[in-house]
Subunit: 135 residues, 3 copies
C-alpha cells in the first residue's frame, strides 16, 4: 500500500503531519516514510512543547549558518542562495527515511513522539513524502 503525503512549508522549521499518517495506516507491519528532496528532513520529535521545535530550528541554524556567514566562506555551491548548501548539509545530518512498526492499525510511537517535516529552505515549498506500508 503506497501513497504520497504533501506537506506545504513556509520557511525553516518543523511541520507536524502525524495525524495525516495515523489516518492512513492500518493493520500490522512496517511503515516506511521517505522524503523526496535533498534540502529538508524527516524527524521524530517531541510534540508536547512547541519551544522544542523552535530550539531545534535555532540550533541547526547556528551549527550550519547561511553561506553569507564568514565561517562558511569555504563553501562553493552558493548560486542557489545562501540557504541552499546549508540545507543540503542539514539534510545529510537528519533522516531522509523513517521506519515505524505498526500494530493493529496504530504506529508504535512513544507518548510524546510526533512525525515532522523539517524544512531547511527559506522559500515556500510543497514537500513530498513517499509512504509504503508493508502488512
Amino acid at each position: 500500500m503506497q501513497t504520497t503525503f504533501q506537506i506545504p512549508t513556509r520557511g525553516p522549521g518543523l511541520y507536524e503531519f502525524t495525524d495525516q499518517v495515523a489516518a492512513w495506516v492500518q493493520g500490522s507491519g512496517v511503515l516506511t516514510l521517505f522524503v523526496r528532496h535533498t534540502s529538508c528532513s524527516l524527524l521524530i520529535q517531541e510534540n508536547a512543547d512547541p519551544e522544542v521545535q523552535n530550539d531545534l530550528r535555532n540550533f541547526f541554524h547556528r551549527l550550519v549558518p547561511p553561506t553569507t556567514d564568514p565561517s562558511m566562506a569555504y563553501l562553493t555551491h552558493t548560486y542557489e542562495g545562501p540557504d541552499d548548501m546549508p540545507a543540503h548539509i542539514k539534510a545529510a545530518m537528519m533522516p531522509v527515511s523513517l521506519s515505524i512498526p505498526v500494530e493493529n492499525g496504530r504506529m508504535r510511537l512513544g507518548t510524546w513522539q510526533g512525525i515532522y517535516l523539517f524544512e531547511h529552505r527559506n522559500a515556500p515549498h510543497t514537500r513530498q513524502v513517499a509512504a509504503y506500508l508493508a502488512v
Copy 2:
C-alpha cells in the same frame, strides 16, 4: 513478528543490546528497530574498543553542551533540566530507526558492528525499542 526490547540506562552513553536482538531474529527478511523516545538514539557502532563509545559520548557532549553552558543561552526549553533540550537535539542528529537485513537467522552486521542505545539524559531510564521482523 513484533516485540519490544527494554534497555535500562544510567546516564549518558552507549548501551549495547546486540545479543538480545540476535537471540530474537530468525529466518530471512528485514528487521526494523524503532526507539519510542525523543531524548535517546539508536546507533550502530564499533564494539571492539570501549574507548570508541566514550569518545562518541564526549564528542556529542561538546557539540551540544548542557543549557547551563553560556553558548547555549539562546535555548528556551529548559524547565526539564539542562540536559533535556540537548538530548532532543542529539536525538535529531542520530537515528530513531534502523533497518537491518537478516539472512538465515542472522543479522547482516559487519564484523565490528554492534547495536546500541545511546542515552542522552542524566537520570536513569528504561528505554523501549520496538522491533518488527518481516520475513
Copy 3:
C-alpha cells in the same frame, strides 16, 4: 531478494552508486540498504552539481577534524590513525541504513536524489552495502 553492493573508495568523499541499485530493483515494495561498516555512511544527496558533494565532505571535515587537530585532543581512540575516531563520529551522525519505497521497478527517488557511499577514512577501501528488497 538480497544482494551486496561493493563500493570501492579512495579517500574521504561521496561515491554515487544509484545506477547499480536502480538496475537491481524490480516490482513494488521497499528497498533496505545497510552499510556493514562503522567508518563510512549512506547518504541520499543532490546529484546535479558535484560542488555539493565537495562542500559536504569539507563541512564534515571541519565539524569533526582529525585527532591531530588540537580541538580534538580529548579523544582517546587514536591508535588506528588520526582519521579513525572522526570517521566513527561521522558514521554516528549520518545514516547507516536507508529505506526507499519502490514502485513498478523504480525507486521513488526525487528528481535530484542520488544514493551515495560517504567514505570517512583516508585509505582505500572496498565497502559493502547489504540490500534487501521486500516486494
